[in-house]
Symmetry: C2
Subunit: 210 residues, 2 copies
Amino acid sequence: MTIVDHKILRNAPVAQLDRAAAYGAEGWGFDSLRAYNIFTRINPMVQNKNYNEDEKWMREALKEAHLALKKKEVPVGAVVVYENKIIGRGHNQVESLKDATAHAEILAITAASNFFDSWRLEGASLYVTLEPCVMCAGAIVLSRIERLVFGTFDPKQGACGTLYNIPNDERLNHQVEAVPEILKEECSKILIDFFQKLRSQKATTNGGNH
Amino acid sequence: MTIVDHKILRNAPVAQLDRAAAYGAEGWGFDSLRAYNIFTRINPMVQNKNYNEDEKWMREALKEAHLALKKKEVPVGAVVVYENKIIGRGHNQVESLKDATAHAEILAITAASNFFDSWRLEGASLYVTLEPCVMCAGAIVLSRIERLVFGTFDPKQGACGTLYNIPNDERLNHQVEAVPEILKEECSKILIDFFQKLRSQKATTNGGNH
C-alpha cells in the first residue's frame, strides 16, 4: 500500500472503522432479509408505496448521500418534501461538524423547519437513504412528519422496524407512516462500498504492521 | 380573565396545551412512582448516585430550565460536565428556534462538542432536569456520553426507564450509566407549575367561550 493509503486510514474516524467491522460482512448487509421480515411483521398494513413519486424523491436523498461521501462521511442523505417540493435537505456531517447529532435527518428537519417557520412539519414527508436511528426516529415523531420513506434497513441501529419501531409507537403523541426499501439497491450499495473500502484499508494497514 | 390572559393563551403553543392536558393531572406527575419502579426493575445496579456533586450540577441544569420558562418554553434544562467543569449548556427552545429538535439535551451536546472539538464526549456527564425522550436518549448514546443524571421521570415520553431504556440497550454500540431522580422535587415542580398554569388558562378561556 502507498503512503497515501496510510494517511487515509489514519484519518478514518474510529467509529467508521467500528461499523466497517460489522456491516456488510458475511452477507448480512443493509438489505437484510431478516430486518425486512421484522418490519413487515410489525407493520403489516404499512406498505403504501407510491413508486414513481417515492423513487423520484429518494434519488434526491441519494444525491445528498453522495455529498456526504465526498466529505468521507458515512454516506446517508435525506430530503423533506411538502406539496411536491423539497423544503429541506441534509447529509450526514458528524465528522465535518464534529457533532454526533448532525445526522442527515436532523439537518433536513431543521432546514425544513426554517422553511415552514414552524417546528411542526405536518403534511411533510421525509426521504432518507438509511433506516433512521433512535435519535432520528424520535426527531421525526417530534416534528410531526406525516410520512417517512427510507431506502435500506440498518441492522445495527435501525429504529423504524429493526431494533425498535418508534414511528408506530402509539404511546407517543404522534405516529408516522413508514415505507421501507425504496431504491433499496442504490441506497444499500453506497454504504456497503463505503464500509468495504474502510475494511480493506484497515486490513492492509494491519498487514503492514506485522 | 383579562385580555392579557387571552393573549397569553392564544400564543401558547398547541403542543404545550396538549401536554398540559396529560401531565400532572390526577396525581400522575413527573415524580411518578410507577416510572421509578419500572426504572429500578430494569436497572437494579445503576443507582450510583453521588449526591453532593450531582445536586450541584443539577442546580445548574435547573438554572437553564428557568431560562426556558422565561421564554414560555416547556421548562427543561441541561448541562454537560467534564472534569468538574461545565462544557455545554442548553435549555428547551423548540418554540423560540421553531425547531422540534431544539431540546435542552441536543443543544447542550452540540455546545459540548464545540468545546471538545469532537463529537465524542467520552468521560462527560449530562445533567438534565427531565428524563430524556427517544430523540435525546439516542443523541446521548451516539455522543458517547459516559453518565446521564436526570431530575424527574417523564411518564409520557421518557426513554430512559419509562417507555424505553435506550441508555442500557446492549444492542447499540455504547451504553450510558443512568442515574434518576436527583433534585426530583425541584425538577418536577417547575414542570407541574408550568402545565397547571396552561391548564387553568385553557379552562378560563373555554368558560369565556360558552
